[in-house]
C-alpha cells in the first residue's frame, strides 16, 4: 500500500472520528471554539505520530521475540501513557511557547482511544515503521480535520436561533451524525479508482 493510499485511508475513508468513532470524547468536549479545536488536533496529531513509531518498536523488538503478542493492548496503554507524560515534560522544557499552546490538551490525550486505536491498527495491518509513522500522522490529521470542521459548525450554531430543546449538546450530536453521514461518501473504491491499490 502506497503512502498516499495510507494518508487517504486514515484522513477520509477511515476517518477516526466520523467513520471509526474513536476519540469521541475530545471531539464533543473540546470542539466549542475553533482555537481550542486546532490546539487539540495538533496535540493529537503529534501524539499519534510519535506513539505509532514507539509502539511499533515495542511490539516488534520486545513482544514478538518473547512471544507475548497477546499483551499488546496492555503494553500499549502503558507505553502511550508514559510517552505522553514524558512529551509533556520535554515540551515544557524545550519550548514553553508550544507548551502554552498544547500543554493543557496533552493530559487529555493520555488515555485517548484514538491513540491506542492507531497503535493497534498499525499492528493488525502489519505496517512497517515508515507506514506506521504515516498512518499515525494521517490519523491525527483526520482527527484534526473532523474536530476543526465540528468546531466551526458549533460556533455558527451558537449564533443560530436553535430550539431550546436542541440547544447545546443535542444539536451538536445531530451535526456530528450528519457529518459522519457525509463521510460515508469516501469509500474503499476511491483507492481503486485512483489506481492506488
Amino acid at each position: 500500500m502506497s503512502y498516499i493510499a495510507i494518508l487517504l485511508t486514515f484522513i477520509f475513508i477511515n476517518n477516526f472520528i466520523l467513520v471509526q468513532f474513536l476519540g469521541l470524547c475530545p471531539f464533543i468536549g473540546v470542539s466549542k471554539s475553533s482555537a481550542n479545536a486546532i490546539g487539540m488536533g495538533a496535540s493529537v496529531t503529534f501524539v499519534t505520530t510519535v506513539a505509532s513509531v514507539v509502539t511499533w518498536a515495542i511490539y516488534y523488538f520486545l513482544l514478538v521475540p518473547m512471544h507475548l503478542e497477546y499483551l499488546q493492548t496492555l503494553t500499549f496503554i502503558l507505553v502511550i501513557a508514559s510517552l505522553v507524560q514524558l512529551l509533556e515534560m520535554v515540551i515544557q522544557k524545550i519550548s514553553p511557547a508550544l507548551y502554552q499552546a498544547l500543554g493543557i490538551y496533552l493530559p487529555l490525550i493520555t488515555t485517548n482511544c484514538a491513540v491506542l486505536g492507531i497503535a493497534i491498527i498499525n499492528i493488525t495491518n502489519t505496517y512497517n515503521v515508515m507506514e506506521s509513522f504515516t498512518a499515525g500522522f494521517a490519523a491525527g490529521a483526520g482527527f484534526t480535520l473532523a474536530i476543526v470542521l465540528m468546531s466551526n459548525i458549533r460556533e455558527k450554531l451558537d449564533l443560530m436561533p436553535v430550539r431550546r430543546a436542541y440547544r447545546g449538546m443535542p444539536i451538536a450530536f445531530i451535526s456530528a451524525g450528519l457529518m459522519a453521514l457525509s463521510f460515508m461518501a469516501f469509500d474503499k473504491s476511491l483507492l481503486t479508482n485512483l489506481h492506488l491499490v
Partner: protein
C-alpha cells in the same frame, strides 16, 4: 513459565517507565521564578480578571516576568500594591486619594413604587428578562431585581433583601465590577465607599414620564442643582448625580428639598 514471563515483562516495562519518568521530571524540572513563588500566595485568589489578565496567577506571572503594572489589582487594594512592591523591590507611589469603591444599585424602586409593563414568567435572570422589551419594569433603567449580579459576585457580597431590594454588603465588596458588567440596565454603579450621600435613580427620562410609573425616581427638577449650588448635585439627561469631589456643604439641605426624596444619606 509463560505467565511468569508475561508478568515479568509488564512489571519491568512499567517499572522502567516509572523510574524513567521520575528521573526525567527531576532532570527536566523547570526552575520557577523565585519572585513568582512569593507573589502567587499573596494574590487575593478570586480570579476576577479586573487586572486584565486571565487570573491571579497569570497577573503574578506578568508582574514577575513582563513587568506589568503593580497596581492593577482592585480586590487587593493599596495593601497588596505595597506587598508586591516590597517583593519586586520597586517603589510605587500609593495615591492617598485612591479611595475604595463599592458597588451600589442606583434604584429605589420596588413592586410598591414602580409600575410593571407585563407579568414576567421566565428564567429568573435579569439578562433573560431584559431581552423581552427591556424587562418587565415600565422603567427600563431600573433594577430588575432578579439577581444576575448576585450570581456573578465572587464574594457573595450581594443579596436580595425582604423588600425586593438588591443590597451590597460593602465590607465584602472587592470592587471587581463584575456586577456592573453583567447588569443589563446599567443600574449598578461603583461609588466611593466614604461617599456620604447617593442619588439612587438611574432613569434618564423626563420628569413627567418618570412620575407616571415611579414614585421614587429622579424627575430632573434641578432643585438640588439650582437652589443648592454648593450641594455637589448636577443634573444631566433629567438625572441628578452626586459628585463628592466638588464642595458639597449644602447636600443635606438638598436631600431635604428633593421632592421625591431620592438623595439618600448612606
Amino acid at each position: 513459565m509463560q505467565i511468569l514471563l508475561a508478568v515479568l515483562t509488564v512489571a519491568l516495562l512499567g517499572g522502567a517507565f516509572g523510574f524513567g519518568l521520575s528521573y526525567a521530571e527531576k532532570k527536566l524540572a523547570i526552575k520557577k521564578d523565585e519572585k513568582l513563588l512569593e507573589l502567587e500566595p499573596i494574590m487575593p485568589g478570586v480570579n476576577c480578571g479586573v487586572c486584565g489578565y486571565a487570573g491571579c496567577n497569570a497577573y503574578a506571572a506578568a508582574i514577575a516576568q513582563e513587568g506589568a503594572q503593580l497596581n492593577l489589582c482592585a480586590p487587593g487594594g493599596p495593601d497588596l500594591v505595597e506587598k508586591i512592591s516590597q517583593i519586586m523591590g520597586m517603589v510605587v507611589e500609593v495615591d492617598p486619594d485612591q479611595r475604595r469603591k463599592v458597588a451600589r444599585v442606583m434604584c429605589n424602586g420596588n413592586i410598591e413604587f414602580t409600575a410593571k409593563d407585563y407579568l414576567y414568567d421566565g428564567p429568573m435572570d435579569c439578562n433573560a428578562a431584559s431581552l423581552l422589551m427591556g424587562g418587565d419594569n415600565t422603567c427600563k433603567d431600573g433594577c430588575l431585581r432578579m439577581g444576575s449580579c448576585i450570581k456573578v459576585c465572587p464574594t457573595d457580597a450581594i443579596s436580595l433583601d425582604g423588600q425586593g431590594y438588591i443590597v451590597v454588603d460593602e465590607a465584602k465588596c472587592i470592587s471587581c465590577e463584575k456586577c456592573v458588567a453583567i447588569c443589563p440596565t446599567h443600574v449598578m454603579h461603583m461609588i466611593y465607599e466614604d461617599s456620604e450621600y447617593s442619588i439612587d435613580c438611574n432613569s434618564k427620562l423626563p420628569g413627567g414620564r418618570v412620575r407616571k410609573f415611579c414614585s421614587v425616581g429622579c424627575i430632573g427638577c434641578k432643585i438640588c442643582e439650582n437652589k443648592f449650588p454648593e450641594s455637589g448635585c448636577k443634573v444631566e439627561n433629567y438625572l441628578a448625580y452626586f459628585d463628592q469631589a466638588v464642595p458639597h456643604s449644602q447636600i443635606a439641605e438638598a436631600a431635604e428639598a428633593c421632592p421625591t426624596k431620592i438623595i439618600i444619606k448612606r
